[in-house]
């Protein structure tokens, strides 16, 4: 069923929409963000500055943006997703060109008042665009090789640009979230089996490329992988961070050391304690109980998205809802796996908790889309 088949009557209009928001989901987001404020207050040594207060302001702004996005009918967003995708892609190309003039990684465009990270923008626009594509595509063409190749190219284009920055974390996110939308859209199983087989082959190729002149990823990324595989190989260098992060987490025990009592974070053994490794501070100070509670809230958010998606009648709404949920899932699961020593450190923040504006804003826009789809679903 396409949005054109909506009976306009059944779609709510006006301020009544506020009441129809998925409030439990909003409360869960606020709960997660509050955990973030608390931890940012703690790692600053019991100070609102420099992080907690700024994060609160950003979250307030983000919530405003989310409500705004939610108020706009979902079919509007469907119609502009191609534009959004194009803008993100062009910005990624611009960044790539700028990066050529400088040494090393160049990931943002300085707008003067804020730094725009096109890769963050891509995280949401790719999902939107692929969802819109399948909304448009007639059902019987779904698994036709030609019609499968087109979204694959749409996903790979930004992924490759991001990988060149280089930003492995975002690349994995784009690829997996885009693939998830394709999977949900009903593309034949065999394609995914083939891709997974191919990915295994690619990973071995990456490792084989090491030290040759066609090396596929940068040296520091190789080192991160080495460190991940054996943190003790470099206890005072790159492995130091992950070792200290694990110590922080493990030493929290059942109930933790108490709020603001985490020695690992308070004494600066923990690296990046307000961004990528904030979860370790939580786990150190509130123990297993605190850590598992946050994980459960995240799980609830995923489940709420799942049920919301199952109640939506049009393809764009449901695909975008689960696509955003998948992105969100990837954020927190990759971050947690990374800080618990299960994955290499690829620089993915803990969503809504880690200090930082771009990722939070993008995710809240994503949840705005989910809310819009929820409000404007046919009843």
């Amino acid at each position: 069923m396409s949005y054109l088949e909506y009976t306009v009557k059944s779609v709510p209009t006006g301020p009544r929409k506020i009441l129809l928001l998925n409030w439990p989901l909003i409360l869960l987001l606020i709960a997660v963000a509050s955990v973030g404020f608390l931890m940012l207050y703690s790692v600053a040594g019991g100070e609102l500055r420099p992080w907690a207060i700024a994060q609160m302001k950003r979250f307030g702004l983000g919530m405003g943006v989310m409500i705004f996005v939610a108020m706009v009918p979902i079919w509007f967003w469907r119609n502009v997703s191609a534009v959004g995708y194009a803008v993100a892609l062009i910005l990624l190309i611009i960044v790539e060109l700028f990066g050529a003039f400088r040494m090393g990684a160049q990931r943002w465009i300085d707008l003067g008042f804020m730094q725009l990270q096109p890769s963050e923008l891509a995280k949401i626009t790719v999902v939107m665009f692929i969802a819109a594509y399948y909304d448009w595509l007639p059902a019987r063409k779904t698994s036709h090789p030609l019609w499968v190749a087109i979204p694959v190219i749409f996903i790979l284009a930004p992924t490759i640009l991001v990988l060149k920055q280089p930003d492995l974390g975002t690349a994995i996110l784009l690829l997996t979230a885009g693939g998830a939308v394709m999977f949900l859209a009903g593309v034949h199983w065999a394609y995914f089996a083939a891709v997974i087989t191919g990915a295994v082959g690619l990973v071995s190729a990456v490792f084989k490329s090491r030290g040759t002149d066609w090396q596929l990823i940068k040296d520091y990324q190789f080192r991160r992988i080495d460190t991940f595989l054996d943190p003790s190989s470099d206890p005072l260098g790159a492995g130091y961070h992950i070792t200290q992060a694990k110590i922080a987490m493990g030493s929290g025990g059942w109930a933790g050391k108490g709020f603001m009592q985490g020695t690992q974070s308070r004494l600066n053994f923990l690296p990046e304690k307000h961004t990528d490794f904030i979860f370790n501070t939580l786990a150190e100070e509130f123990g297993f109980i605190g850590a598992i509670s946050l994980l459960l809230i995240y799980a609830l958010i995923i489940l709420f998205c799942l049920f919301a998606a199952l109640n939506m009648k049009d393809r764009f709404s449901s695909l975008v809802t689960l696509g955003v949920a998948m992105t969100f899932f990837l954020f927190f699961s990759v971050n947690m796996a990374m800080v618990m020593g299960l994955a290499p450190v690829v620089g993915v923040p803990l969503p809504l908790v880690s200090y930082g504006g771009s990722a939070m804003l993008i995710l809240l826009i994503g949840f705005g889309l989910i809310q819009s789809a929820h409000i404007h679903r046919p009843r």
Binding site: M1, A139, R140, T142, A180, F183, L184, A185, G186, Q244, K246, I247, A248, M249, G250, S251, G252, G253, W254, T263, Q264, L267, N268, F269, A283, G287, F288, A291, I292, L295, Y298, A299, I302, L303, L306, A309, L310, R315, S318, L319, L322, M326, F329, S333, M336, A337, M340, L342
Partner: protein
């Protein structure tokens, strides 16, 4: 339309299936993350907690205060003084060069010091403090403290540092401390953790080195919480260490100072011993040096000056210097002969000026000969032939046995550096050392303390004390350690025939009191403090035939380092001996002229506990002595007697 509807329904069902599948997969991964948390935070929690504690808690050593050293009257010889230093931490300084420039202006640092500090900072981790200025004055320290806001990363530190208030007087006795070197560590098995502390100082030479274990003390520990940069956040607990034990010497700082001053123009050594207890009252070696230079780190030019001086200021001649004792050894030969019954006191030997032994002529110092001499006259006038004769009858083994009984050839347990053993030669020794047989001429030479006989001033003082007391007096340098008195060096009787001893002492008395005695000019006329002594002039080498042809016959014609050593030993007062003195003036010439007058001054100084009245000296010496006393007073205005009261 209907088919389309069918397709849409299929698609919707497929979406639901796949959404549930994906959701299930997500939940499974979340469960995996949960299990990982459980494993880390519950199963492995204890291990991680231990690691976190190891990170957080740092145990630091608290260096103990080093034991101090005092003289027999409590005058401080080696003390600990607070010393202030200024260090800088690069990470906190921001721009270390700018900060150092400001600091240089503030407390007057040299450009080299600034460059040195910058170099060291680059070589070390950014959070390590680097010392910029050591031993800064309190004023400079306050200036730094006041200007702290303009000097980020700069911090004043207080530590204890060794100081020798009496300077050169005790340089050879107390020695000095210095920073622990790799060489020091290589010598010590299982070194104390303390030694690994930066800037920790250990005894390098002298008493400081020999008594290191006693003086060092035990380290305390401080448990602190540190952050990742190693900065101390707070103290968790403290276990106080044990300061090193204080040591009180037997040496009298005033007398020691007098000896050093009296000898200062010579290359000489003097030892003053208490005859009764073996206490070393003074043990001087001149010239000396300021040990404080070494504690601070001596400059290359200062060090060069010390090593290139031909008077060898760094050598502790009183225990380390070995000299042929010359005629001061004659008491040994005489006592051995008396004890063996080889000669009676009144028996005479004819001295024609030489003695021919196995076709070789051994000369007496007096070419014209002494005529008939007995024990007293031979010692008084230092006739050589008399002793040649005794030694030939005695044999070297008995002679050396007596020498050892009197302390020559024994390594005394005195806690100073490089204490020499000396030598009382035997046939077996020569065989082993040179692979040659003992010849009769060796015995003849040994009888007058030449040839293979070697003794340090300490040996000679012990010998004199043993002659004066008849007991095996042992030298004692340390009176008490940490308030615990050390055993006296009184010793047990040597079981000599008392009348033999009396005869020797009587003969020694006439050396410095009979008008024909070799030390008559250096007599003491105060009846209560009369001294008995013996001069010695020991040859460094013979005047060669060629030199004789060139007209070199007199000592003064030779270059300094080939002139004879001047020696003198004595005890006083004669009636009730209290002190024994030995004195060696390297290449000083004759014992009676070069050594005996100094020994008399030292003896009187010791007996009077300060400058003696001029009436103790013979009339004709008094004006000279007064001038000398005044000169020494001027040169040493602050005779250390602070602790006396």
């Amino acid at each position: 339309m209907r088919r389309k509807g069918q397709e849409a329904a299929d698609l919707s069902r497929r979406f639901t299936r796949r959404a549930l599948f994906l959701g299930g997969a997500q939940m499974a991964l979340i469960a995996g993350l949960g299990l990982r948390m459980r494993w880390m935070q519950i199963d492995q929690a204890d291990e991680f907690r231990l690691l976190a504690e190891e990170n957080r808690v740092n145990i630091r050593l608290l260096p103990p205060a080093r034991g101090q050293i005092f003289d027999r009257n409590g005058v401080p010889v080696a003390v600990n003084e607070p010393s202030y230093r200024i260090s800088i931490i690069r990470e906190e300084a921001g721009d270390p060069e700018l900060v150092l420039q400001r600091l240089a202006v503030l407390i007057g640092l040299s450009e080299e010091a600034v460059a040195e500090a910058l170099k060291e900072m680059k070589a070390r981790r950014g959070d390590t403090p680097v010392t910029v200025a050591d031993r800064v004055s309190w004023d400079d320290l306050s200036r730094v403290a006041v200007n702290a806001p303009a000097l980020p990363g700069v911090s004043p530190e207080v530590g204890l540092s060794r100081y020798y208030p009496l300077g050169a007087d005790f340089a050879h006795v107390a020695g000095y401390v210095g920073p622990v070197s790799d060489y020091d560590l290589s010598k010590i098995e299982d070194p104390d953790q303390l030694l690994l502390l930066p800037r920790f100082q250990i005894g390098k030479v002298g008493l400081e080195a020999k008594m290191e274990e006693v003086l060092r003390g035990k380290a305390g520990t401080l448990r602190v919480e540190v952050n990742a940069a190693g900065r101390i956040m707070r103290e968790l607990g403290r276990v106080e260490g044990q300061p090193g034990a204080d040591i009180q010497l037997t040496v009298d700082a005033a007398l020691q100072g007098y000896c050093e001053a009296r000898l200062s123009t010579e290359s000489a050594a003097a030892v003053v011993m208490d005859v009764e207890t073996g206490d070393i009252l003074a043990i001087a070696s001149a010239p000396s040096f300021d040990p404080n230079l070494f504690v601070r780190g001596i400059s290359v030019s200062d060090y060069k000056g010390l090593t290139e001086n031909e008077y060898r200021p760094l050598s502790s001649k009183s225990v380390q210097g070995l000299y042929p004792p010359g005629s001061t050894f004659k008491m040994v030969t005489a006592l051995a002969a008396l004890e063996e019954g080889i000669i009676g006191p009144e028996e005479t030997v004819h001295c024609p000026g030489h003695l021919e032994v196995s076709n070789r002529k051994f000369h007496c110092w007096k070419r014209s000969g002494h005529g008939n001499v007995n024990l007293e006259t031979s010692l008084r006038e230092s006739c050589d032939v008399y002793y040649y004769d005794l030694a030939l009858k005695l044999g070297i083994e008995k002679l050396s046995a007596m020498a050892e009984k009197l302390g020559i050839g024994v390594r005394f347990d005195v806690p100073m550096s490089a204490v020499a053993r000396g030598r009382a030669p035997t046939r077996a020794w020569k065989k082993e050392a040179f692979g040659k047989d003992w010849v009769i001429g060796d015995t003849v030479n040994a009888s007058i303390g030449q040839g293979y006989v070697a003794a340090s001033p300490l040996h000679l003082a012990v010998m004199t004390a043993r002659l004066a007391s008849g007991r095996a007096v042992q030298p004692r340098l340390i009176r008490s350690i940490g308030g615990v008195d050390q055993p006296s060096g009184q010793g047990t009787s040597l079981d000599f025939n008392e009348s033999n001893l009396r005869m020797i002492r009587r003969a020694m008395y006439s050396v410095s009191n009979h008008s024909r005695g070799t030390a008559y000019n250096s007599r003491i006329i105060e009846d209560a403090f009369r001294m008995a002594g013996k001069t010695g002039t020991s040859q460094v080498r013979n005047i060669s035939e060629e030199e004789r042809r060139r007209g070199v016959t007199r000592n003064d014609d030779l270059p300094w380092n080939r002139r004879d050593h001047a020696l003198f030993v004595n005890f006083a007062p004669f009636d009730a001996p209290k002190i024994a003195v030995s004195l060696v003036v390297e290449h000083g010439g004759g014992g009676s002229a070069a050594a005996a007058p100094i020994a008399r001054d030292i003896t009187l100084q010791a007996l009077y506990n300060g400058d003696p009245p001029l009436t103790a000296y013979p009339e004709k010496d008094r004006s000279r002595i007064r001038a000398l006393q005044e000169r020494l007073k001027r040169e040493r205005p602050s005779t250390p007697d602070r602790g006396r009261a």
